[in-house]
Protein backbone atom coordinates (compact mmCIF):
# COMPACT_ATOMS: atom_id res chain seq x y z
CA UNK A 1 0.00 0.00 0.00
CA UNK A 2 2.73 2.43 1.00
CA UNK A 3 4.66 1.37 -2.09
CA UNK A 4 1.73 2.22 -4.35
CA UNK A 5 1.41 5.59 -2.65
CA UNK A 6 5.10 6.25 -3.13
CA UNK A 7 4.87 5.21 -6.78
CA UNK A 8 1.96 7.61 -7.17
CA UNK A 9 4.07 10.45 -5.77
CA UNK A 10 6.91 9.55 -8.09
CA UNK A 11 4.57 9.71 -11.09
CA UNK A 12 3.73 13.25 -10.01
CA UNK A 13 7.44 14.03 -9.63
CA UNK A 14 7.98 12.84 -13.21
CA UNK A 15 5.14 14.98 -14.59
CA UNK A 16 6.50 18.01 -12.72
CA UNK A 17 9.99 17.32 -14.04
CA UNK A 18 8.66 17.43 -17.61
CA UNK A 19 6.82 20.68 -16.86
CA UNK A 20 9.74 22.31 -15.06
CA UNK A 21 12.58 21.40 -17.43
CA UNK A 22 10.48 22.62 -20.34
CA UNK A 23 9.72 25.85 -18.47
CA UNK A 24 13.48 26.24 -17.97
CA UNK A 25 13.85 26.15 -21.74
CA UNK A 26 11.82 29.33 -22.04
CA UNK A 27 12.59 31.15 -18.77
CA UNK A 28 16.07 29.97 -17.83
CA UNK A 29 17.69 29.39 -21.21
CA UNK A 30 15.92 31.98 -23.36
CA UNK A 31 14.88 34.57 -20.78
CA UNK A 32 11.25 34.47 -21.91
CA UNK A 33 9.12 35.19 -18.88
CA UNK A 34 6.57 32.58 -19.88
CA UNK A 35 3.74 32.25 -17.35
CA UNK A 36 1.51 30.44 -19.83
CA UNK A 37 2.91 27.00 -19.18
CA UNK A 38 -0.25 25.67 -17.55
CA UNK A 39 -2.12 26.76 -20.68
CA UNK A 40 0.14 24.56 -22.85
CA UNK A 41 -0.19 21.75 -20.32
CA UNK A 42 -4.00 22.07 -20.57
CA UNK A 43 -3.96 22.13 -24.38
CA UNK A 44 -1.90 18.92 -24.34
CA UNK A 45 -4.13 17.25 -21.77
CA UNK A 46 -7.36 18.09 -23.61
CA UNK A 47 -5.98 17.19 -27.06
CA UNK A 48 -4.76 13.87 -25.74
CA UNK A 49 -7.93 13.10 -23.77
CA UNK A 50 -10.30 13.97 -26.61
CA UNK A 51 -8.36 11.87 -29.10
CA UNK A 52 -8.07 8.97 -26.65
CA UNK A 53 -11.81 9.08 -25.98
CA UNK A 54 -12.43 8.96 -29.71
CA UNK A 55 -10.48 5.71 -29.80
CA UNK A 56 -7.08 6.83 -31.07
CA UNK A 57 -4.04 4.86 -29.90
CA UNK A 58 -1.81 6.12 -27.12
CA UNK A 59 1.24 7.00 -29.21
CA UNK A 60 -0.85 9.18 -31.49
CA UNK A 61 -2.65 10.97 -28.64
CA UNK A 62 0.61 11.52 -26.81
CA UNK A 63 2.42 12.99 -29.81
CA UNK A 64 -0.62 15.02 -30.85
CA UNK A 65 -0.66 16.56 -27.36
CA UNK A 66 2.88 17.81 -27.92
CA UNK A 67 2.19 18.99 -31.44
CA UNK A 68 -1.00 20.87 -30.52
CA UNK A 69 0.65 22.55 -27.53
CA UNK A 70 3.75 23.32 -29.59
CA UNK A 71 1.66 24.93 -32.32
CA UNK A 72 -0.15 26.96 -29.68
CA UNK A 73 3.24 28.10 -28.35
CA UNK A 74 4.36 29.06 -31.84
CA UNK A 75 1.15 31.03 -32.46
CA UNK A 76 1.42 32.76 -29.08
CA UNK A 77 5.00 33.74 -29.88
CA UNK A 78 4.00 35.62 -33.02
CA UNK A 79 2.03 38.53 -31.55
CA UNK A 80 4.11 38.56 -28.35
CA UNK A 81 7.49 38.45 -30.14
CA UNK A 82 8.23 42.05 -29.35
CA UNK A 83 7.10 41.87 -25.73
CA UNK A 84 9.69 41.61 -23.02
CA UNK A 85 9.87 40.85 -19.33
CA UNK A 86 6.78 41.87 -17.43
CA UNK A 87 4.65 42.44 -20.53
CA UNK A 88 5.38 38.99 -21.87
CA UNK A 89 4.60 37.60 -18.42
CA UNK A 90 1.22 39.34 -18.46
CA UNK A 91 0.42 38.23 -22.01
CA UNK A 92 1.27 34.59 -21.32
CA UNK A 93 -0.63 34.69 -18.04
CA UNK A 94 -3.62 36.00 -19.99
CA UNK A 95 -3.20 33.14 -22.43
CA UNK A 96 -3.33 30.60 -19.60
CA UNK A 97 -6.52 32.14 -18.39
CA UNK A 98 -7.96 32.08 -21.91
CA UNK A 99 -7.28 28.34 -22.23
CA UNK A 100 -8.98 27.76 -18.88
CA UNK A 101 -11.99 29.84 -19.96
CA UNK A 102 -12.28 27.95 -23.25
CA UNK A 103 -12.07 24.59 -21.47
CA UNK A 104 -14.79 25.73 -19.10
CA UNK A 105 -17.15 27.20 -21.70
CA UNK A 106 -16.78 25.24 -24.92
CA UNK A 107 -19.27 22.65 -23.70
CA UNK A 108 -19.65 20.85 -27.02
CA UNK A 109 -15.99 19.96 -27.12
CA UNK A 110 -14.77 19.83 -23.52
CA UNK A 111 -18.03 19.21 -21.62
CA UNK A 112 -17.13 22.30 -19.60
CA UNK A 113 -17.15 21.90 -15.85
CA UNK A 114 -18.28 18.28 -16.12
CA UNK A 115 -14.88 17.38 -17.46
CA UNK A 116 -13.84 14.34 -19.48
CA UNK A 117 -14.04 11.08 -17.53
CA UNK A 118 -13.08 7.59 -18.57
CA UNK A 119 -9.84 8.25 -20.40
CA UNK A 120 -8.49 4.77 -21.20
CA UNK A 121 -5.16 3.58 -19.82
CA UNK A 122 -2.32 3.88 -22.30
CA UNK A 123 -1.28 0.89 -24.35
CA UNK A 124 1.92 0.48 -26.31
CA UNK A 125 2.86 -2.57 -28.45
CA UNK A 126 0.08 -4.50 -26.76
CA UNK A 127 1.28 -3.68 -23.26
CA UNK A 128 -1.20 -1.84 -21.05
CA UNK A 129 0.17 0.59 -18.46
CA UNK A 130 -2.72 -0.14 -16.18
CA UNK A 131 -1.20 -0.07 -12.69
CA UNK A 132 0.72 2.68 -10.95
CA UNK A 133 4.07 0.89 -11.25
CA UNK A 134 4.00 0.40 -14.98
CA UNK A 135 2.73 3.95 -15.40
CA UNK A 136 5.64 5.15 -13.30
CA UNK A 137 8.03 3.44 -15.69
CA UNK A 138 6.36 5.22 -18.62
CA UNK A 139 6.39 8.59 -16.84
CA UNK A 140 10.03 8.15 -15.87
CA UNK A 141 11.00 7.47 -19.47
CA UNK A 142 9.21 10.64 -20.60
CA UNK A 143 10.80 12.68 -17.78
CA UNK A 144 14.30 11.45 -18.57
CA UNK A 145 13.77 12.02 -22.28
CA UNK A 146 12.55 15.57 -21.64
CA UNK A 147 15.57 16.28 -19.50
CA UNK A 148 17.90 14.93 -22.19
CA UNK A 149 16.14 16.88 -24.94
CA UNK A 150 16.34 20.19 -23.08
CA UNK A 151 19.93 19.47 -22.10
CA UNK A 152 20.81 18.70 -25.70
CA UNK A 153 19.20 21.88 -27.01
CA UNK A 154 20.73 24.05 -24.29
CA UNK A 155 24.27 22.81 -24.76
CA UNK A 156 24.23 23.03 -28.57
CA UNK A 157 25.13 25.93 -30.87
CA UNK A 158 21.43 26.74 -31.00
CA UNK A 159 21.38 26.88 -27.20
CA UNK A 160 24.14 29.45 -27.37
CA UNK A 161 21.92 31.59 -29.57
CA UNK A 162 19.14 31.20 -26.99
CA UNK A 163 21.56 32.47 -24.35
CA UNK A 164 22.57 35.44 -26.47
CA UNK A 165 18.95 36.44 -26.97
CA UNK A 166 18.36 36.09 -23.24
CA UNK A 167 21.38 38.19 -22.26
CA UNK A 168 21.16 40.95 -24.87
CA UNK A 169 18.65 40.61 -27.66
CA UNK A 170 19.82 43.69 -29.54
CA UNK A 171 23.46 42.65 -29.49
CA UNK A 172 22.42 39.20 -30.72
CA UNK A 173 20.59 40.81 -33.62
CA UNK A 174 23.63 42.90 -34.56
CA UNK A 175 25.46 39.58 -34.89
CA UNK A 176 22.88 38.53 -37.47
CA UNK A 177 20.74 36.36 -35.19
CA UNK A 178 17.05 36.25 -35.94
CA UNK A 179 15.88 36.84 -32.38
CA UNK A 180 12.16 36.66 -33.14
CA UNK A 181 12.46 33.27 -34.81
CA UNK A 182 14.74 31.99 -32.06
CA UNK A 183 12.21 32.97 -29.40
CA UNK A 184 9.39 31.33 -31.37
CA UNK A 185 11.29 28.06 -31.57
CA UNK A 186 12.11 28.20 -27.87
CA UNK A 187 8.52 28.86 -26.85
CA UNK A 188 7.17 26.22 -29.24
CA UNK A 189 9.54 23.50 -28.00
CA UNK A 190 8.89 24.47 -24.42
CA UNK A 191 5.14 24.22 -25.08
CA UNK A 192 5.58 20.91 -26.92
CA UNK A 193 7.06 19.30 -23.83
CA UNK A 194 4.41 20.87 -21.57
CA UNK A 195 1.82 19.29 -23.88
CA UNK A 196 3.43 15.88 -23.39
CA UNK A 197 3.20 16.42 -19.62
CA UNK A 198 -0.49 17.23 -20.08
CA UNK A 199 -1.03 13.98 -21.96
CA UNK A 200 0.72 11.99 -19.23
CA UNK A 201 -1.45 13.65 -16.62
CA UNK A 202 -4.69 12.96 -18.52
CA UNK A 203 -3.80 9.30 -19.03
CA UNK A 204 -2.72 8.91 -15.45
CA UNK A 205 -5.69 10.48 -13.68
CA UNK A 206 -8.13 9.24 -16.40
CA UNK A 207 -10.29 12.29 -15.79
CA UNK A 208 -9.64 15.96 -16.57
CA UNK A 209 -11.65 19.10 -16.00
CA UNK A 210 -10.81 22.80 -16.31
CA UNK A 211 -10.09 23.06 -12.58
CA UNK A 212 -6.94 20.97 -12.96
CA UNK A 213 -5.51 23.81 -15.04
CA UNK A 214 -6.04 26.96 -13.03
CA UNK A 215 -3.30 29.50 -12.55
CA UNK A 216 -2.69 28.05 -9.07
CA UNK A 217 -1.19 25.01 -10.79
CA UNK A 218 1.62 27.23 -12.00
CA UNK A 219 2.81 27.87 -8.44
CA UNK A 220 4.55 24.52 -7.86
CA UNK A 221 6.09 24.55 -11.36
CA UNK A 222 7.48 28.05 -10.93
CA UNK A 223 8.62 27.12 -7.42
CA UNK A 224 10.59 24.19 -8.88
CA UNK A 225 12.26 26.46 -11.45
CA UNK A 226 13.19 29.11 -8.90
CA UNK A 227 14.34 26.65 -6.25
CA UNK A 228 16.24 24.59 -8.80
CA UNK A 229 17.88 27.70 -10.17
CA UNK A 230 17.58 29.34 -13.57
CA UNK A 231 19.14 27.31 -16.37
CA UNK A 232 20.11 24.52 -13.96
CA UNK A 233 18.58 21.22 -15.05
CA UNK A 234 20.13 19.19 -12.25
CA UNK A 235 18.82 21.71 -9.70
CA UNK A 236 15.40 21.53 -11.33
CA UNK A 237 15.20 17.77 -10.92
CA UNK A 238 16.20 17.94 -7.29
CA UNK A 239 13.70 20.74 -6.72
CA UNK A 240 10.92 18.71 -8.35
CA UNK A 241 11.42 15.99 -5.74
CA UNK A 242 11.52 18.58 -2.94
CA UNK A 243 8.42 20.42 -4.00
CA UNK A 244 6.33 17.32 -4.60
CA UNK A 245 7.48 15.31 -1.60
CA UNK A 246 7.98 17.94 1.10
CA UNK A 247 4.30 18.74 1.73
CA UNK A 248 3.35 15.04 1.85
CA UNK A 249 4.00 14.43 5.59
CA UNK A 250 1.09 16.82 6.24
CA UNK A 251 -1.24 13.97 5.35
CA UNK A 252 0.19 11.74 8.03
CA UNK A 253 0.02 14.32 10.77
CA UNK A 254 -3.69 14.01 10.24
CA UNK A 255 -4.61 17.40 8.82
CA UNK A 256 -7.98 17.36 7.06
CA UNK A 257 -7.70 17.70 3.30
CA UNK A 258 -9.33 21.15 3.44
CA UNK A 259 -6.23 22.32 5.29
CA UNK A 260 -3.69 20.41 3.22
CA UNK A 261 -4.36 22.40 0.02
CA UNK A 262 -3.70 25.82 1.53
CA UNK A 263 -0.89 24.40 3.68
CA UNK A 264 0.87 23.19 0.52
CA UNK A 265 0.66 26.66 -0.95
CA UNK A 266 2.10 28.08 2.29
CA UNK A 267 4.97 25.59 2.18
CA UNK A 268 5.74 26.56 -1.43
CA UNK A 269 5.64 30.22 -0.49
CA UNK A 270 7.98 29.66 2.47
CA UNK A 271 10.35 27.57 0.36
CA UNK A 272 10.41 30.29 -2.28
CA UNK A 273 10.99 32.98 0.30
CA UNK A 274 13.83 31.02 1.90
CA UNK A 275 15.47 30.50 -1.48
CA UNK A 276 15.13 34.13 -2.49
CA UNK A 277 16.54 35.30 0.84
CA UNK A 278 19.38 32.86 1.40
CA UNK A 279 20.20 31.47 -2.01
CA UNK A 280 18.78 33.76 -4.68
CA UNK A 281 20.19 31.62 -7.47
CA UNK A 282 18.47 28.50 -6.18
CA UNK A 283 20.16 25.13 -5.90
CA UNK A 284 22.26 25.33 -9.06
CA UNK A 285 21.31 28.60 -10.74
CA UNK A 286 23.71 29.61 -13.46
CA UNK A 287 22.37 32.80 -14.94
CA UNK A 288 21.59 36.32 -13.76
CA UNK A 289 18.73 38.08 -15.48
CA UNK A 290 18.30 41.79 -15.24
Amino acid sequence: MIEAYLAHLLVLVCIYIVLAVSLQLSIGFTGLFNLGHIGFYAVGAYASALLALSGQPFWLCFLAAGVFAGLTGWLLSLPTGKLKGDYLALATLGFSFLVYAVALNWNDLTRGALGLPGIPKPELFGFAFSDTYSFLALAAVVAIASYLIVQRIASSPFGRVLGSVRDDELAARTLGKNAARTKSIALASSAFLAGLAGSLYAYYITFIDPFSFTLLELVPVLAIVVIGGLASLEGTILAAFLVVLLPEPLRFIGFPSSVIGPARQIIFALLLLAVLLYRPKGIGGKVELD
Binding site: I149, R152, I153, S156, P157, F158, G159, R160, V161, G163, S164, R166, D167, D168, L170, A171, A172, R173, T174, L175, G176, K177, N178, A179, I185, S189, A231, K286, V287, E288
Partner: protein, 243 residues
Protein backbone atom coordinates in the same frame (compact mmCIF):
# COMPACT_ATOMS: atom_id res chain seq x y z
CA UNK B 1 32.02 50.98 -49.71
CA UNK B 2 29.85 52.81 -47.17
CA UNK B 3 27.85 55.74 -48.51
CA UNK B 4 25.59 57.84 -46.31
CA UNK B 5 23.14 60.08 -48.11
CA UNK B 6 21.07 62.74 -46.35
CA UNK B 7 20.53 60.83 -43.14
CA UNK B 8 18.04 62.47 -40.81
CA UNK B 9 16.69 61.44 -37.45
CA UNK B 10 14.62 63.28 -34.86
CA UNK B 11 13.88 62.24 -31.32
CA UNK B 12 10.81 64.27 -30.40
CA UNK B 13 12.02 67.83 -30.70
CA UNK B 14 15.72 66.95 -30.94
CA UNK B 15 17.23 66.87 -34.39
CA UNK B 16 19.79 64.18 -33.61
CA UNK B 17 20.93 64.07 -37.24
CA UNK B 18 20.06 66.52 -40.00
CA UNK B 19 20.87 65.72 -43.59
CA UNK B 20 24.19 64.01 -43.00
CA UNK B 21 26.09 62.74 -46.04
CA UNK B 22 29.60 61.35 -46.42
CA UNK B 23 31.39 58.29 -47.74
CA UNK B 24 33.81 55.84 -46.21
CA UNK B 25 36.16 54.54 -48.90
CA UNK B 26 37.10 50.89 -49.12
CA UNK B 27 40.16 50.14 -47.00
CA UNK B 28 40.15 53.49 -45.26
CA UNK B 29 39.56 54.64 -41.72
CA UNK B 30 37.12 57.51 -41.23
CA UNK B 31 36.87 59.05 -37.79
CA UNK B 32 33.66 60.67 -36.63
CA UNK B 33 34.28 63.27 -33.95
CA UNK B 34 32.18 65.89 -32.22
CA UNK B 35 31.06 67.09 -28.80
CA UNK B 36 28.77 65.11 -26.52
CA UNK B 37 25.28 64.76 -27.94
CA UNK B 38 26.43 65.60 -31.46
CA UNK B 39 24.72 62.51 -32.87
CA UNK B 40 27.70 60.21 -33.38
CA UNK B 41 26.19 57.16 -31.72
CA UNK B 42 22.86 57.87 -33.40
CA UNK B 43 24.64 57.74 -36.74
CA UNK B 44 26.12 54.30 -36.02
CA UNK B 45 22.70 53.16 -34.81
CA UNK B 46 21.08 54.27 -38.07
CA UNK B 47 23.70 52.55 -40.20
CA UNK B 48 23.45 49.27 -38.27
CA UNK B 49 19.65 49.27 -38.25
CA UNK B 50 19.45 49.56 -34.46
CA UNK B 51 17.50 52.80 -34.85
CA UNK B 52 15.13 53.36 -37.76
CA UNK B 53 16.00 56.49 -39.72
CA UNK B 54 13.48 59.16 -40.72
CA UNK B 55 14.92 59.68 -44.18
CA UNK B 56 18.04 59.13 -46.24
CA UNK B 57 19.84 56.08 -47.51
CA UNK B 58 22.75 53.95 -46.38
CA UNK B 59 24.61 52.05 -49.09
CA UNK B 60 26.82 49.15 -48.08
CA UNK B 61 28.75 47.91 -51.12
CA UNK B 62 26.02 49.51 -53.19
CA UNK B 63 23.09 47.88 -51.35
CA UNK B 64 20.68 50.18 -49.55
CA UNK B 65 20.30 48.92 -45.99
CA UNK B 66 18.18 51.83 -44.77
CA UNK B 67 15.08 50.55 -42.99
CA UNK B 68 16.38 46.99 -42.71
CA UNK B 69 16.43 45.17 -39.40
CA UNK B 70 19.72 44.91 -37.46
CA UNK B 71 20.11 41.19 -38.22
CA UNK B 72 19.65 41.86 -41.94
CA UNK B 73 22.15 44.71 -41.91
CA UNK B 74 24.63 42.49 -40.07
CA UNK B 75 24.25 39.81 -42.74
CA UNK B 76 24.87 42.43 -45.41
CA UNK B 77 28.30 43.04 -43.96
CA UNK B 78 28.06 45.62 -41.20
CA UNK B 79 29.68 44.75 -37.87
CA UNK B 80 29.73 47.09 -34.91
CA UNK B 81 30.67 47.68 -31.29
CA UNK B 82 28.73 49.74 -28.77
CA UNK B 83 29.80 52.74 -26.71
CA UNK B 84 29.46 50.67 -23.58
CA UNK B 85 30.06 47.02 -24.44
CA UNK B 86 27.04 44.79 -24.92
CA UNK B 87 28.24 41.28 -24.23
CA UNK B 88 26.29 38.16 -23.34
CA UNK B 89 27.02 38.20 -19.63
CA UNK B 90 26.03 34.64 -18.73
CA UNK B 91 27.95 33.12 -21.60
CA UNK B 92 31.66 32.45 -21.71
CA UNK B 93 34.17 34.64 -23.49
CA UNK B 94 34.62 31.88 -26.08
CA UNK B 95 30.87 31.58 -26.67
CA UNK B 96 30.63 35.31 -27.32
CA UNK B 97 33.13 35.00 -30.16
CA UNK B 98 31.64 31.75 -31.45
CA UNK B 99 28.27 33.47 -31.78
CA UNK B 100 29.84 35.95 -34.18
CA UNK B 101 31.72 33.30 -36.18
CA UNK B 102 28.90 30.83 -36.42
CA UNK B 103 26.67 32.95 -38.64
CA UNK B 104 23.55 31.15 -39.67
CA UNK B 105 24.75 27.65 -38.96
CA UNK B 106 22.86 27.23 -35.75
CA UNK B 107 19.59 25.79 -36.93
CA UNK B 108 17.47 24.16 -34.29
CA UNK B 109 17.26 20.82 -36.06
CA UNK B 110 20.94 20.60 -36.82
CA UNK B 111 21.67 21.29 -33.17
CA UNK B 112 18.99 18.88 -32.07
CA UNK B 113 20.44 16.15 -34.26
CA UNK B 114 23.77 16.64 -32.61
CA UNK B 115 25.74 19.25 -34.54
CA UNK B 116 28.54 20.62 -32.39
CA UNK B 117 31.20 23.25 -33.05
CA UNK B 118 33.73 22.07 -35.59
CA UNK B 119 37.38 21.98 -34.64
CA UNK B 120 38.05 24.58 -37.29
CA UNK B 121 35.47 26.94 -35.82
CA UNK B 122 36.96 26.58 -32.34
CA UNK B 123 40.40 27.28 -33.71
CA UNK B 124 39.17 30.43 -35.38
CA UNK B 125 37.52 31.52 -32.13
CA UNK B 126 40.71 30.96 -30.20
CA UNK B 127 42.78 32.94 -32.64
CA UNK B 128 40.21 35.77 -32.47
CA UNK B 129 40.76 35.80 -28.71
CA UNK B 130 44.51 35.63 -29.09
CA UNK B 131 44.43 38.85 -31.00
CA UNK B 132 43.12 40.72 -27.94
CA UNK B 133 45.08 38.62 -25.43
CA UNK B 134 42.01 37.01 -23.87
CA UNK B 135 42.92 33.39 -24.58
CA UNK B 136 43.42 32.63 -20.90
CA UNK B 137 39.91 33.95 -20.19
CA UNK B 138 38.21 31.82 -22.85
CA UNK B 139 36.14 29.89 -20.34
CA UNK B 140 35.35 32.74 -17.94
CA UNK B 141 31.88 34.22 -17.91
CA UNK B 142 31.67 37.66 -19.49
CA UNK B 143 30.02 39.13 -16.44
CA UNK B 144 33.24 38.48 -14.51
CA UNK B 145 35.42 40.54 -16.88
CA UNK B 146 36.80 43.99 -16.14
CA UNK B 147 35.58 46.94 -18.21
CA UNK B 148 38.73 46.98 -20.30
CA UNK B 149 38.47 43.27 -21.00
CA UNK B 150 34.87 43.77 -22.07
CA UNK B 151 35.92 46.43 -24.54
CA UNK B 152 38.58 44.13 -25.93
CA UNK B 153 36.24 41.18 -26.20
CA UNK B 154 33.55 43.21 -27.91
CA UNK B 155 36.13 44.34 -30.44
CA UNK B 156 37.24 40.74 -31.02
CA UNK B 157 33.61 39.70 -31.43
CA UNK B 158 32.92 42.44 -33.96
CA UNK B 159 36.01 41.37 -35.91
CA UNK B 160 34.92 37.74 -35.84
CA UNK B 161 31.61 38.54 -37.51
CA UNK B 162 32.09 38.31 -41.28
CA UNK B 163 31.87 41.90 -42.47
CA UNK B 164 32.86 44.47 -45.05
CA UNK B 165 32.47 47.54 -42.84
CA UNK B 166 33.38 47.92 -39.19
CA UNK B 167 31.69 50.52 -36.98
CA UNK B 168 33.46 51.25 -33.69
CA UNK B 169 31.84 53.49 -31.06
CA UNK B 170 34.55 55.01 -28.84
CA UNK B 171 36.75 51.91 -28.61
CA UNK B 172 39.20 53.67 -26.29
CA UNK B 173 36.74 55.32 -23.93
CA UNK B 174 36.75 54.57 -20.23
CA UNK B 175 39.64 52.11 -20.07
CA UNK B 176 42.98 52.33 -18.29
CA UNK B 177 46.13 53.41 -20.18
CA UNK B 178 47.42 49.85 -20.60
CA UNK B 179 44.25 48.56 -22.24
CA UNK B 180 44.00 51.80 -24.16
CA UNK B 181 47.35 51.14 -25.77
CA UNK B 182 46.32 47.58 -26.52
CA UNK B 183 43.08 48.59 -28.22
CA UNK B 184 44.82 51.38 -30.12
CA UNK B 185 47.39 48.96 -31.47
CA UNK B 186 44.66 46.52 -32.59
CA UNK B 187 42.86 49.31 -34.43
CA UNK B 188 46.09 50.42 -36.10
CA UNK B 189 46.77 46.86 -37.16
CA UNK B 190 43.27 46.64 -38.64
CA UNK B 191 43.97 49.66 -40.72
CA UNK B 192 47.12 48.06 -42.10
CA UNK B 193 45.09 44.97 -43.00
CA UNK B 194 42.85 47.10 -45.16
CA UNK B 195 39.69 47.01 -43.04
CA UNK B 196 37.07 49.62 -43.84
CA UNK B 197 36.33 51.40 -40.58
CA UNK B 198 34.05 54.14 -39.35
CA UNK B 199 35.25 55.07 -35.90
CA UNK B 200 33.77 57.37 -33.27
CA UNK B 201 36.45 58.76 -30.99
CA UNK B 202 37.12 61.74 -28.75
CA UNK B 203 40.88 61.34 -28.56
CA UNK B 204 42.17 63.68 -31.27
CA UNK B 205 45.77 62.52 -30.97
CA UNK B 206 44.72 58.94 -31.60
CA UNK B 207 42.41 59.98 -34.42
CA UNK B 208 45.22 61.90 -36.17
CA UNK B 209 47.43 58.84 -36.03
CA UNK B 210 44.93 56.35 -37.38
CA UNK B 211 42.31 58.08 -39.54
CA UNK B 212 42.56 58.82 -43.25
CA UNK B 213 39.63 61.16 -43.04
CA UNK B 214 37.80 62.94 -40.25
CA UNK B 215 34.15 63.99 -40.21
CA UNK B 216 33.13 66.50 -37.56
CA UNK B 217 29.55 66.48 -36.31
CA UNK B 218 27.93 69.18 -34.25
CA UNK B 219 24.28 69.18 -33.25
CA UNK B 220 23.51 66.63 -35.91
CA UNK B 221 25.23 68.42 -38.78
CA UNK B 222 28.53 67.86 -40.52
CA UNK B 223 30.53 71.04 -39.84
CA UNK B 224 33.84 69.93 -41.30
CA UNK B 225 35.34 67.07 -43.26
CA UNK B 226 38.84 66.30 -44.51
CA UNK B 227 42.19 64.85 -43.57
CA UNK B 228 43.11 65.04 -39.88
CA UNK B 229 45.46 68.00 -40.44
CA UNK B 230 42.88 69.89 -42.50
CA UNK B 231 40.23 69.39 -39.86
CA UNK B 232 42.50 70.43 -37.01
CA UNK B 233 43.06 73.78 -38.71
CA UNK B 234 39.36 74.37 -39.32
CA UNK B 235 37.97 77.36 -37.39
CA UNK B 236 34.56 75.85 -36.75
CA UNK B 237 36.15 72.74 -35.33
CA UNK B 238 38.39 74.69 -33.02
CA UNK B 239 35.34 76.61 -31.81
CA UNK B 240 33.24 73.51 -31.33
CA UNK B 241 35.99 71.80 -29.41
CA UNK B 242 37.10 74.74 -27.30
CA UNK B 243 33.67 76.30 -26.87
Amino acid sequence: MLELRSLSKRFGGVHALANVSFNVEKGSVTALIGPNGAGKTTLLDLVSGVTVLDSGSVLVSGVNVAGKRPEQVARLGVSRTFQSPRLFGNLTVLDNVLLALDGGDESFWASFLGRRDSKQLLERAHSALERVHLTNKAHSLCRDLSYGQRKLLELARALALPHTVLLLDEPLAGVNPVVRKEIASVVKALRKQGETILLVEHDLAFVSGVADRVVVLEEGRVIAEGTPSQVKRDKKVVEAYLG
